[in-house]
């Protein structure tokens, strides 16, 4: 049967919506009624049917619209996709990974035929049927990373591993929560994390780097991160701050349910086989408050999390301006009853 891909936008008239089935599979990130930083890394293994973890690379009803939005971002700003010269091999690694995973999880939509280094890739939702030589960049319309990430949901950072560090040497970044590939390209792990408060002093990044440089082939890992976005806008980049920053002043008690979105990132980490690099896909899921509160457990829990969030975290995530309005709106949906443990809806 396959996925019915929605026609929708992430800009201008913002027609993005989740179907009822997609609301239920939303990766709600809070397993209890409060939130604090934690080392929430776990093995990236296949999860329950009907969840976003059913396949290790998830394709959903927003696929076609997200790829159209990515093409619009790239047309305006080609520097959202960059690959330093030594990263081409890692780009081929990523192409193989994404083609294999998408073809494995969604055979009705994607087909990969390999005959030695002669490969045929069929992407039915986007109407693509290309035959090319694996390893020969001249046989593709773009470099291997750009080619496949124009056909894969989520941002992708490819990190080169050398000198005991990781280097942000390639990436496709168009759906980011306020950071810039063009600014970070070529930086090492400590440099690109420099703006994060407190965590350096706690030694968090030293431990995280040790973990990441030891990620093994065939053993990917994942974690969830979250923030909030006003309007279902995928491209909340520093480059376009003038377009989305002012949105945060537009939240009123009347439009909270439609405008305020929980933004969850499913981040995964994979060792790439030929280049020995690491790819870091950052997959963004959006859900508006009206959709989220159709699950009473999530409504109660989100109210408690946002209400009790430490001030520093609220500031870091950019919620300060509309937090009181949001908490007031959510409080009407919280009768104070207990919530069941775990992430899922009741």
């Amino acid at each position: 049967m396959g996925i019915t891909f929605r026609k929708e936008t992430f800009r201008d008239d913002f027609t993005f919506k989740n179907s009822p089935e997609h609301i239920r599979r939303f990766p709600f990130p809070f397993h209890e009624d409060s939130y604090m930083y934690a080392v929430n890394i776990e093995p990236h293994v296949v999860g329950p049917k009907g969840s976003v973890l059913e396949n290790l690379i998830d394709v959903d009803e927003h696929y076609v619209a997200e790829m159209q939005d990515r093409a619009l971002v790239l047309a305006e700003d080609p520097l959202r996709c960059q690959s330093l010269p030594h990263m081409t091999l890692a780009g081929w690694d990523l192409l193989e990974l994404l083609m294999e995973q998408q073809a494995l999880g969604y055979p009705e939509h994607f087909t990969l035929e390999r005959n030695g280094d002669r490969w045929r890739w069929i992407n039915r939702p986007l109407g693509i049927d290309d035959t090319f030589t694996f390893g020969d960049t001249s046989t593709l319309p773009y470099g291997p990373m750009e080619y496949i990430t124009r056909q894969s949901q989520g941002d992708f950072c490819i990190l080169d591993q050398r000198d005991g560090n990781l280097w942000m040497d390639a990436g496709m970044v168009t759906t980011q929560a306020d950071w810039s590939l063009d600014f970070d390209i070529g930086m090492n792990f400590f440099e690109w994390h420099a703006p994060v408060p407190l965590a350096h002093e706690k030694g968090i990044f030293v431990r995280a780097l040790k973990f990441l440089t030891n990620i093994q082939q065939g053993k990917p890992a994942r974690r969830l991160n979250w923030t909030m976005t006003i309007n279902p806008r995928l491209d909340t980049s520093p480059e376009n701050y003038h377009k989305w920053g002012p949105d945060r002043a537009t939240v009123t008690p009347e439009n909270v349910g439609d405008k305020v979105h929980l933004r969850v990132e499913l981040q995964s980490f994979w060792r790439l086989p030929r280049s020995n690099g690491i790819v870091f896909p950052i997959r963004c899921y959006l859900i508006k408050m009206d959709e989220l509160v159709t699950q009473p457990k999530w409504a109660r829990r989100l109210h408690r999390v946002i209400r009790d969030l430490p001030e520093e975290l609220a500031t870091y995530k950019g919620l300060t301006r509309y937090r009181p309005t949001l908490v007031e709106w959510l409080s009407k949906l919280d009768d104070g009853s207990a919530t069941s443990p775990g992430f899922g809806p009741d």
Partner: protein, 321 residues
């Protein structure tokens, strides 16, 4: 997060004597599928079931990373070692089912290099077999200098010369041929990266000369697996699991910990990767540190040990395991 890497069920598809000391082993997947792709310089850990004993030894993959129908390793027989290489030479025959780890690369090519200058000594040639195959496939610029004791012990020298011709330079100890290292290191184009794999003395010599001649440390790469050395037996208390274990003469501390049913993380089992680093709670005696992971300060402090290669002599040792 977990012990070691994902495992691969393989069968020995061929055993080929290469010369009087070295034998090559070929592995294929038991289910007939392709093996995982790997990068030049990667190793696998081979599990050897030798009666009651399990040995886990790392070996560099030496086939072409472009061909994943089979993996190949070459094992040099060590008559005075702890027995892993003897087990491979004597007991591993075609058809034997074995378990190996997924590939792990701790000796990766720096793909920014304009030129790759490789120095191999003896059996240290194996990672370069895969790296040269990878670079040749991509039209990469490399040059390999290979020292061996005699022509007949120059493992794969003939194969390499046939494949890469003048990019391979051989030096035979019995003919008093020596690498003119200072000249070699002084005449490389900008952007060259240096790779060395061989006996510890050779690695130290090359690193030392490179440093003296002004090579930036990030352009000098080396593979420095230490095989665990045999030594006097000793007893250890594992405080977390509440066990007391005995480390035999031919056994590594890590193997003894594993034999007691405790599974610390590991990757290289050669004192390089840092995974099995263990805190010392108390000790009365002398540490014999053989790793390349801990700092000299750590070694002096007596607060940490790498159980894959290091040992202990004395009255008591309590570890946080």
């Amino acid at each position: 997060m977990s012990t070691g890497t994902t495992k691969l069920d393989v069968v020995v598809s061929d055993v080929v004597p290469v010369n009087e000391l070295v034998t090559r082993f070929h592995f294929r997947r038991r289910d007939g599928g392709l093996l995982p792709t790997f990068s030049g310089g990667a190793h696998v850990v081979v599990e050897m079931r030798d009666g009651e004993r399990t040995r886990l030894n790392p070996y560099s993959l030496m086939g072409s990373p472009l061909d994943t129908r089979e993996y190949t390793i070459s094992v040099r027989r060590d008559d005075v070692g702890r027995g892993g290489s003897l087990f491979m030479h004597r007991s591993v025959k075609p058809g034997l089912e074995m378990v190996i780890s997924y590939p792990v690369n701790l000796f990766s090519l720096d793909l920014r290099a304009k030129k790759h200058l490789m120095l191999a000594g003896g059996i240290g040639i194996t990672p370069f077999m895969a790296q040269t195959a990878q670079l040749a496939g991509e039209g990469g610029n490399f040059e390999l200098h290979y020292t061996c004791r005699t022509a007949s012990l120059g493992t794969y020298a003939d194969v390499l010369q046939q494949r890469y011709n003048r990019r391979i330079r051989l030096y035979h100890d019995d003919r008093e041929e020596r690498i003119d290292l200072d000249r070699l290191l002084s005449t490389q184009p900008l952007g060259t990266h240096l790779y060395v794999c061989g006996p510890a003395g050779m690695i130290n010599w090359v690193r030392d000369r490179a440093a003296s001649l002004g090579w930036p440390p990030e352009t000098v790469h080396y593979e420095h697996f230490a095989a665990p050395q045999p030594g006097l037996p000793f007893d250890v208390t594992l405080a977390v699991s509440g066990k007391t274990i005995h480390v035999g003469e031919q056994q590594s501390l890590l193997e003894a910990i594993e034999a007691a049913g405790v599974d610390p993380p590991y990757l290289c089992r050669g004192g390089v990767c840092g995974q099995c680093e263990t805190n010392v709670i108390s000790s009365d005696g002398k540490f014999i540190h053989n790793d390349h992971w801990l700092s000299e300060e750590d070694h002096r402090s007596g607060c940490k040990i790498m159980p894959c290669v290091s040992r202990f002599e004395g009255k008591s040792l309590v570890l946080e395991r």
